[in-house]
Amino acid sequence: MSEAGATLKKVSLLEIALSFNHIALASFGGGLSAWSREVVVVQKQWMSEEEFLSAMTMCRIVPGANQVNLAVFVGTKLKGMAGAIAALVGLCLVPVAMILTLGFVYFTFKEVPAVKGALHGASAAAVALTLTMVIKTGQKCLTGVMPIALFLAAFILNGILRWPLLEVLGILAPLSLIWAWPRKRAEA
């Protein structure tokens, strides 16, 4: 963390905005969180894997769109309020212009342009990118009985049984905190 802190100081607002713009534009068809990890953790190394993953869940608990919250988290960590604004503008500016253009076409011609097939194909690859994130991050943090149990419980409750996220977290978040809480006496 401390060696990462030294390089963080040099990040410019423009670089933050451009990085989040890149994340947003690369995610056509979906896979925004996988792209966020690809840029923030792998390419720029602004955050460690664990810090990024836990931030993702925090961003789900706090009101607001998850990806918007994540941009604010990363931007604030890098450069305070100015960083948060740069990340938000980078994430939203070009996509808003694009989606309003699509809206104009849709409401004028009553037809979604013939990109539907292309987006359907892209979404299959976006799912692959998200699965890849599961495999790569899983190799690093699923290293014991408790982590694997938490992982499986979250997947089954939210993905298979389709419980609402808040109920899943209501049960699993306290369990995971109890498991991960630093216990000095036991270890000393």
Partner: protein
């Protein structure tokens, strides 16, 4: 003017109600935009939902399209664009401000036990939720065996090689465009 005030009021409050992500307020958004304000029809809402899911950027930008439809009735295309921008700002700013304040105190709590436990404990939980997301994503996109095949091959490429993901996503988009997927 009244329409714009309604837009700001609606999305400003939905912003802070969207606990668990933007998708949680979609039913309320649908109700208010279609039955409450009559900004659009039911099938138009379904169409803008799929546009916002597929378009690049956060899927919460569906609010820009709701705002566009609302403004369209007031002052044509220019009114629509104004409505779209206003709806986006109203949806993003309140929650983002809250997130900013939370992040600030989180950054100060560098050495706290809670932060240590959250970073260690939430990681496996998050990986499970992401796996759930990818399952839900492919179901929502109505994928058949060919799409699953593309997903499988693309996953292999991502895990085994260092290929730029954009090339793979682009190739899959091309497959979709020519009608394979």
């Amino acid at each position: 003017m009244k329409t714009y005030l309604s837009l700001m009021g609606l999305f400003g409050s939905l912003s802070l109600l969207s606990i668990g992500g933007g998708n949680t307020v979609l039913p309320e958004m649908h109700l208010r935009a279609v039955s409450g304000h009559h900004w659009m029809t039911n099938s138009q809402f379904a169409d803008i939902f799929s546009i916002s899911q597929a378009a690049p950027g956060p899927s919460i930008l569906i609010v820009a399209l709701v705002g566009y439809a609302a403004g369209l009735g007031v002052a044509g295309v220019a009114g629509g664009i104004a409505g779209g921008l206003l709806a986006t700002v109203a949806m993003v700013i309140p929650a983002a401000t809250l997130m900013y304040l939370i992040t600030l105190s989180w950054q100060k709590a560098q050495k706290s036990k809670l932060r240590y436990a959250v970073e260690k404990g939430f990681a496996p939980l998050t990986v499970g939720l992401i796996l759930a997301t990818s399952l839900v994503m492919s179901k929502a996109a109505d994928h058949d065996w060919r799409a699953y095949l593309v997903t499988g091959v693309a996953t292999l490429i991502f895990v085994r090689t260092n290929t730029n993901p954009l090339i793979v996503v682009g190739a899959a988009a091309l497959l979709g465009y020519i009608g394979f997927v």
